[in-house]
């Protein structure tokens, strides 16, 4: 068959099974890490890997289109990091109809919705944003000795990834009555807004002891704002995603901690499982990827 898409697909040799990894967006180092892990695994496992993503992390309809198109392209297996846990279900069902196994990565597909629609997924590989939020919360509570003023930088309002992380965090800090969340403002996942918004928050609440940012980009932006305000080291900054930059920031003390979800490992595990499925082996329906706090 002339110029089969494997060309352009980048990885691999024609004739090998094609595995697609559809992430939320590639404009985010987290998923670039995931892609890297997946590509390495793909080489080992000998599959053609196609990585696709929407431009915007929140654009689940676009992600749906991409998956539909990959179904048309008749890939052999689909690994999906859903931009919306419920919204992804209809297209999972489409994949089922086309007998393409679906592996969910990073963000769960909603169980009830899946059940209601009679959709099936081969496995879920990942960890829970909610737990991550709780980890971060617990860490701050511990570090502050149970009392202090905390600020939060939210992601795009109404985006469930951030929502879950936030709920987890709030639950954890709720346990410590001494902890006050004095400000919780959106910075839309973005670094520059993280800077501006936290700079403004500092104006209103000079006595902030800790900051939880729903992703590292916002945390890194805020860290710069803290430095600019001459408060370096005085405010505990906790991020999420454990991006390389955040790790270095922790080493040189501008950040205190970040929640690591090991995207590379998720990507790798997903591809390996896909390969095994295609080889007819059975795989367990949940492969947890540890979620831990990098301090």
């Amino acid at each position: 068959n002339r110029g089969d898409p494997a060309a352009g697909g980048g990885a691999g040799v024609a004739g090998q099974p094609a595995v697609a990894l559809v992430v939320k967006t590639l404009n985010n180092p987290f998923f670039i890490e995931m892609q890297r892990g997946a590509e390495e695994a793909a080489k080992k496992a000998g599959v053609n890997l196609i990585v696709q993503a929407a431009d915007r992390e929140v654009d689940v309809e676009r992600q749906m289109q991409i998956i539909e198109n990959l179904i048309e392209r008749k890939v052999d297996a689909l690994c999906i990091a859903p931009s919306g846990s419920r919204e992804i279900v209809p297209v999972i069902v489409k994949a089922n109809r086309a007998n393409i196994p679906v592996l969910i990565v990073d963000t769960r597909a909603d169980e009830q919705a899946l059940a209601a629609a009679g959709g099936k997924i081969a496995t879920f590989i990942g960890s829970d944003n909610f737990d991550g939020g709780r980890l971060a919360g617990a860490f701050i509570v511990e570090k502050l000795g149970g009392k202090g003023n905390v600020a939060v930088l939210e992601g795009i309002a109404g985006h469930e990834t951030g929502d879950a992380r936030l709920r987890g965090f709030k639950e954890a800090v709720a346990k410590a009555p001494g902890i006050k969340v004095v400000a919780s403002q959106p910075a839309n996942w973005e670094r520059d807004q993280g800077y501006n918004v936290f700079q403004n928050i500092l104006q209103a609440n000079p006595s902030i002891d800790a900051l939880f940012a729903c992703n590292d980009l916002m945390a890194l932006g805020a860290a710069e704002a803290i430095a600019a305000a001459g408060k370096r080291g005085k405010i505990l900054v906790v991020g999420f995603d454990a991006q390389p930059e955040a790790r270095t920031a922790i080493q040189n003390g501008t950040m205190a901690a970040t929640v690591a979800q090991f995207p590379a490992r998720m990507g790798a595990t997903a591809v390996e499982n896909a390969a095994r499925l295609l080889r007819g082996e059975t795989i367990e329906t949940f492969s947890p990827v540890s979620i831990e706090l990098i301090k």
Binding site: E61, Q65, G84
Partner: protein, 354 residues
């Protein structure tokens, strides 16, 4: 004051027919007739589409390329798939075509999609009959649109400002109304609007076709459509000719809101969920489709036929890039380049001889 912006020149061009290029492949007659067509409607219609033939060429070219590059492109199921994926943007773009021909702009469509989506979903959740819920959604959309219209025609706000404001007001409204959480899980009856088929054709495609048929008729054959052109071409002249400018301006934005509402219906049924963050940056896609389709942002000229072609170009492009498994960075680059090339081709075809 005259505004010889490109679209304008472009248009002259296709009028001052006998410029060789104007024939995007032997359509010369069509073009020439555009000038002199007798009143009867066919040459008229033909003439109008003539202006889109360049763009249409672009679409065909694109399809040919993809057909050569991948066996998966030219299959019935994939073409239906593309049409379905295009339908949402295409429906919104119709509204924008009206607005832009009218000399305005509407940035709020994406947020209106989100707002009417959650409104409709919340009604559905109360197990109200589907048609009523749908009406609620369409109503919410129209309402936002009419508010835009009133701000613009009675409040004299620049359309850009009014709809930019509505863009974030409607978004905020959607978030507040839904408390920031998606509302999902609807009955088959409602889902049918996205998943159903009539004579093997998916419902969204039928909706799209219906919308375009109606829109084309309204634009070309009714006073409303005539006034949309007149106001966009020369608001003062329209006013002095006794056209109730404000009323029609308001209605145009209302229509845009209504169509955003309709898009929300399809989107919600498709995802089986209404998200308060749905539709972000939809306005860009819709405007792009409209302008690629040859509608002038200066107002006064354009056609829905062109817009449909524009929307399809974008749909086909995205689909093709996915089929080819192009990396998403390269995709952005290619999409941009193709948009430019598509219109550039069109332009150079039609470049008037100074």
């Amino acid at each position: 004051m005259s505004k010889p912006d490109q679209p304008a020149t472009r248009d002259d061009a296709s009028d001052r027919a006998p410029s060789p290029g104007a024939s995007a492949g032997g359509v010369q007659p069509a073009v020439t007739r555009s000038g002199t067509a007798a009143g009867s409607r066919w040459p008229r219609l033909f003439a109008h589409s003539a202006r889109q033939l360049g763009t249409f060429g672009g679409l065909i070219g694109l399809c040919l390329v993809l057909w050569i590059l991948t066996p998966h492109f030219l299959t019935v199921s994939n073409l239906l798939n593309i049409a379905q994926q295009t339908s949402i943007n295409a429906i919104i773009a119709v509204g924008l075509t009206f607005v832009i021909i009218n000399g305005g702009i509407d940035l709020s469509v994406g947020s209106i999609v989100a707002f009417s989506g959650v409104v409709m979903a919340s009604v559905l959740a109360r197990a109200v009959p589907v048609p009523i819920a749908v009406l609620a959604g369409l109503g919410a959309g129209s309402l936002c649109g009419l508010i835009n219209g009133v701000l613009i025609s009675f409040g004299r706000l620049p359309p850009f400002i009014a709809t930019l404001g509505m863009m974030s007001v409607a978004r905020g409204g959607a978030l507040l109304y839904s408390d920031g959480r998606p509302i999902s899980g609807f009955g088959e009856g409602f889902r049918w609007l996205a998943t159903g088929e009539v004579a093997w054709i998916p419902v969204p495609i039928l909706l799209m076709i219906a919308v375009y048929a109606v829109a084309h008729f309204v634009l070309r054959r009714t006073p409303f459509g005539r006034y949309v052109f007149a106001i966009g071409g020369n608001e003062e002249a329209a006013l002095l000719s006794g056209v109730p400018v404000r009323r029609y301006k308001t209605l145009v934005y209302g229509a845009s809101g209504l169509l955003s509402g309709l898009a929300a219906v399809v989107l919600t049924a498709r995802l089986n969920s209404a998200q308060p963050i749905a539709g972000i940056s939809y306005e860009l896609d819709a405007i792009a489709a409209t302008v690629i389709g040859g509608t002038s942002l200066m107002g006064g000229q354009g056609s829905v036929v062109g817009t449909l072609i524009g929307a399809l170009i974008m749909g086909v492009l995205r689909n093709g890039l996915n089929l080819l498994g192009v990396s998403s960075f390269v995709q952005q680059l290619v999409i941009g380049a193709v948009i430019i090339l598509a219109v550039l081709m069109d332009m150079t075809f039609k470049r008037p001889k100074r």
